[in-house]
Every structure is written in structure tokens, then in C-alpha cells.
Symmetry: C2
Subunit: 338 residues, 2 copies
DNA sequence: GTGAAAGCGCTAACAA
DNA sequence: TTGTTAGCGCTTTCAC
């Protein structure tokens, strides 16, 4: 392994001169820089990252912290970010939290100890105080979900609209008993989505009857059980809105396997725009969310922020709006169901 | 940032004692280890990787190199590996190649210069010579795809069976004009799959007529075009087998949007076991591949290999068999199509 | 402009 | 069983 000492010896100068020349320090003469660069190239010098990092310089690692990479939301983001950061010489590391605050803390600890240049995180519902502290010491950006405690740089979708739009669509179709299966309100996104649901339902006036089923964001089981419970009621809902991709998948699976007639018996509006939603039953009415674009914007911003060395954590939020896609799974409330 | 010195000071012992206790050195008394661990946890101590690496210990980074993380095959693997490696204190880094050998080389360069502990790679069709050389210097395991040049440690599925089984299934249903849409033979997996197709088709004797359409593994466009071409023929196939997840998705999409009658007009057998395959049209007959299990096995093996410090690159291959799942998209060849 | 020297946090030889 | 000490390769004062 060639070190700056080797180069220094070869050039009969001190190691610090070489180090400075390599760092393009303004105090070093152009000719010296020239010679150093030449010899370095010739000897096949490669900077020792570990040593550099020990001196406080952060690595080229960027930590991506998500609940579960198998969720297409997050793998799409990972892809977009990877593309974006790679161009600038950053390496993406992957950490999964399972939406568990302890796991999240462990991961953040790992990342900070690895001296990452920054962290892009989809935070859990209630990050640990220690997590907050550690993130405070590292440049970081929140993705999708936002916690005030974790700073003011955030890239997300308009969660409110993402549920408001499909719900309003159903209300306009005449539905009054509308169910919502989604994430708990303790998640900031969960809260906004529930609010979107309620506000849209309020458009129906006094007739509107919301049936909310809120559970863990990653739990398919919860969604299936919630759906069964709803359908078993004496006055089951005539329409259903889901508030997360995983819940949508679970609901589609359950509806499919239990043979519920959609939209005859139940109108359904999903969340996210998976390819398969198109061919599910009559085609699923759903909200498309520009996840890839969002992640790219986040990556660009991150790079931009890293370039200006000064600790920049100026508040910045980007909210991307969703798009309602109407397919066959929603239709006007029928006389039978009315 | 808490260092071993802080712990040492708190415990009134020397830093080396703490270091040794943390490293579970046999010379340290159990009670001391106990106390150190306790205080370390309490103070939120996190080892400084950079410092450790400088002492020659390789990093705790493991590079995962895949074509595209959005492919559920690969995100499933990333998840399983992450879980597996995290327990042993490893951090997974993500690199995408787009199945391009130049990109692959760049990524491998990055990883080796970052001193990764090892690399788990789904190699591209024809890795660059430099890639081969660099991988030779780093512990690595091939996943899914296998190149002789990249060593003898490999975890994969039985590609041959994965296509042989569905094809035989179709032959047994009486189909004779069977098409195959899959990856090019230049990929080792692609070759085995094509062979599986041909061998199964041979069971039909002289009547069997294979129609092979081979293209880039990641190209949806190719698969759609290939399907259109097949259906436009004067004597279109009565059955279709796909040889990769992405091609399967593309085919399902195309069949769905062009309104082809499955299985009336065409029997279809897919590749992989996506949740959505169940509810596509009449339910897709497909081969389930134990991707998660495969990745876990690979992760365990990696950890095992790392533990025994000696450079161990003894050949090891693990081949996991697929399972055919018969649903509604395949049926005996009808009189109209015969 | 350049050199000398002091560490960064950790591990590992050498002492005790 | 534990303490002392010397670096790993680099950056960064402080001298000159």
C-alpha cells in the first residue's frame, strides 16, 4: 500500500507537503502539485479512506434508512437515490428498521459510527430521543414521513390529498358509509391521511359515516382482519379507502380470496400505483404517487447541500401532489347498497 | 462521541482493558467484561470503524451488487441479507449495475477502495476483466448467476428446472407450439433456462415446436414486442413460458391490455411468485423460487466464512429447486387450437 | 511555500 | 489478569 510518506520520500519533501498538494491546498506551488500528482499516479497511490475518516473527514457513505426495502415504495426510492448519489461519488448503504424505534436507533448508531456523510431516513413513528440526538449531529433529510424533532428538511408527498382525493371521489359517487384502512395516527403521515379521509367524508354532510381502522403500517394481518371485521358488520360499508401500499395489497388479497364483488358489493380505492393494480379484478381506482421523482429531488438536494461545506440545515420542504386514477373498482352506490 | 477512553476513565481501568473486553478477549475476566459491556451500553458507546479499519481490520461493510433493486427478486434478497448480516454487525451497501459491465466495474472499484469485508454479487452477463481481478482480491459470493471466472462460491436456483417444469407441464397438457420469452443465453442462468425449455419440449417428440424469443433480462419493451410478434404469426403458439420476473410482468401487462383470452387462446406459465400473480386474470401458473431462503443461506455462509479468518474460498455451490404452482392460466390444448 | 510534530481511536506487542 | 506504549495514514496546527 502506497502512502503519502512513500511519495514524500520519493520526492524528497515532507509528508505534509504531499498531503497538501493532494488536497489542492492553496499554499502549495503549482509546480509542486504537478510533480506530486505525477508521482502519485505513477506509484498507484490510493488515499486511505480509513485514515482520512479518522481525521474527521466524513466518508462517501450515505445511509438510507427505511422500514422495509421489499416495499416497492422504498425500493423505488433506493433506486432513484442510488442513481443520483452515485454520480457524485457517494455510496448508498441500506438499513431497515421494521418501523421499530429500537432497531432504528441501532441502525443510526451504526451509521454515525461509520462516519456517514449523511442520512436519508423514513423515520419510525416515535424515534428514540437518542436517535434524535445522533441525527442532530449528522446531515440528514427526512423522506416521506416528517417529525418536527428530526429537523426541517423533508421531502414528502401530500398525504392529506392522497386520501382526500379518493375519498371525495367516492363521496361524489354517492357513497355514505365509507371505511378507511390505514396507518395509525401516531405517524405524521398517518395523521394527515386520516384527516384527508375525514374532511372528504364531511363533504357528504350529516349522512357521512366513516369507519376507521388504523393499525401498524407494515402489517398485512391487521389490514386483512380489519377488512373482515368491516364486512361482517350488520351495516357494512359500501366503499373502502386504503391508506398505505401494504394495506392495499393485503386488502386486495383478502377481497380476492373471499370473493367479494367489487365494485358491486363494495367500491374500493387503493393507495400507490403498482403495476398489478391495473389488472386486479375490474382495475383498481387508486392514487399515483410520484415516488421516484420525489427521491430524485431528495438526492439532488442532498448533493447540493453537501457541496456547500457550511453546515446547512436551512428548513426545506418539498411536497409532491398525488394523482387520482379512476378504474373499475369504484362506481356509484347502487340501489341495493343505498 | 464516546470512546473506549471514556469508558476506561469511568471504570478506572486502562483503555486496552476496555478494548479487550469489548473484543471478548479470553484474557479478560468475565466480571470485567460484564462491567465494561454494561457501562458501554449505558454510555451509548459505538466503536469507531475508521480507527478500527486503520488497524488493518477490514470494514464491516458488505457490498451487495445487483442489476436493479426495484426488481422484487433483488429487493427480497437485499432484505434477507440485511437481516442476516446486521446481526453480525455488518452493514450492507447497495450498488446497482443495470446489467452493464462498465457500471459494474465502477461499482466494484468503489467497493474495493472502501475496503469492504466482502461482496455479494449478481454478476452481469460478461464481467470486465478488471472486475474479475478486483473480485479476486476480495471475499465474494455470487448470487443467482454464476460465472466460472468469478470463483466457485455461488448460491442460486435451479434455473434449468425453473423453466423445465412449467414447460413440461404444458407439454403434458398437450401443447405443441410453445413459445418462450426469456433472457439471452449469454447469461449463465439464461442458458440453463433455455436448455430447460428445449429439453422439456423434446418430451413432445417430433411434434414439439419451440418459438424462442431471447432478449435483455431487464427489458420490458423487448418482452412486449416479442409477445406481439408471436401472436401476429400465422400459426401462433398455443402456450407461452416466460423465463424472468420482469418479462413475466411485461407479458401479463401486454396480454391484459390487448385482451388476449387466457387460457382459451393461450396458456401462460410465469416465472417467480409475485403476490399479484394470483389475481392476474384466471390466476397465473408459475414457478415459485425460494429467493428469500436463498439469500439467507448466502448470508449465513458469508458470515461463517468471515468468521474463520483464514482466506477461505473453497468451492461451494447451493442450488435451490423451484416449485411449480398450477393456477388457471394453463389448461389442456383445446380442439380449436390443436 | 514548506517542514515538524501532534494527534484522531483503536489494536497489539511488550511489561508487570 | 491488567497496564503501558507504540504506532496505523492522514490532516492540521504551529513554526520557519
Amino acid at each position: 500500500m502506497i502512502t503519502i510518506k512513500d511519495i514524500a520520500a520519493r520526492l524528497q519533501v515532507s509528508p505534509s507537503t504531499v498531503g497538501r498538494a493532494l488536497a489542492d491546498d492553496s499554499r502549495i506551488s503549482a509546480s509542486m502539485k504537478q510533480r506530486v500528482l505525477e508521482v502519485a499516479g505513477e506509484m498507484g497511490y490510493v488515499a486511505n479512506r480509513a485514515a482520512r475518516m479518522m481525521r474527521g473527514v466524513s466518508s462517501n457513505l450515505v445511509g438510507l434508512v427505511v422500514p422495509d426495502i421489499r416495499n416497492s415504495f422504498f425500493s423505488t426510492m433506493a433506486h432513484a437515490l442510488s442513481k443520483c448519489l452515485e454520480q457524485e461519488g457517494y455510496q448508498l448503504t441500506l438499513s431497515e428498521t421494521d418501523d421499530d424505534r429500537q432497531t432504528e436507533l441501532r441502525q443510526i448508531r451504526e451509521l454515525t459510527s461509520a462516519n456517514v456523510a449523511g442520512i436519508i431516513i423514513v423515520p419510525s413513528a416515535k424515534p428514540h430521543a437518542e436517535t434524535v440526538r445522533l441525527l442532530g449531529m449528522t446531515p440528514h433529510i427526512q423522506l416521506l414521513r416528517k417529525h418536527a424533532a428530526l429537523g426541517e428538511q423533508w421531502f414528502g408527498i401530500d398525504d392529506y390529498q392522497a386520501v382526500y382525493q379518493p375519498t371525495r371521489h367516492l363521496v361524489e359517487l354517492g357513497h355514505r358509509r365509507i371505511a378507511y384502512i390505514g396507518s395509525l395516527g401516531e405517524l405524521p403521515t398517518g395523521g394527515a391521511r386520516v384527516k384527508g379521509f375525514r374532511d372528504a367524508l364531511a363533504l357528504a354532510g350529516g349522512d357521512g359515516q366513516g369507519m376507521e381502522q388504523l393499525g401498524a403500517p407494515g402489517s398485512r394481518e391487521f389490514a386483512r382482519d380489519a377488512l373482515r371485521g368491516l364486512l361482517a358488520q350488520p351495516q357494512p360499508p359500501t366503499a373502502l379507502v386504503t391508506g398505505s401500499v401494504l394495506h392495499t395489497f393485503a386488502v386486495l388479497e383478502e377481497l380476492w380470496s373471499s370473493g367479494v364483488d367489487v365494485p358491486g358489493q363494495l367500491s374500493v380505492a387503493g393507495f400507490g400505483d403498482e403495476l398489478a393494480f391495473r389488472w386486479w379484478g375490474p382495475g383498481l381506482t387508486t392514487v399515483a404517487l410520484p415516488v421516484s421523482e420525489l427521491a430524485t429531488a431528495c438526492g439532488l438536494w442532498f448533493v447540493h447541500r453537501m457541496k456547500q461545506k457550511s453546515a446547512n440545515s436551512a428548513p426545506y420542504s418539498s411536497i409532491t401532489p398525488p394523482t387520482l386514477i379512476v378504474r373499475g373498482s369504484t362506481r356509484p352506490v347502487g340501489p341495493a347498497a343505498a
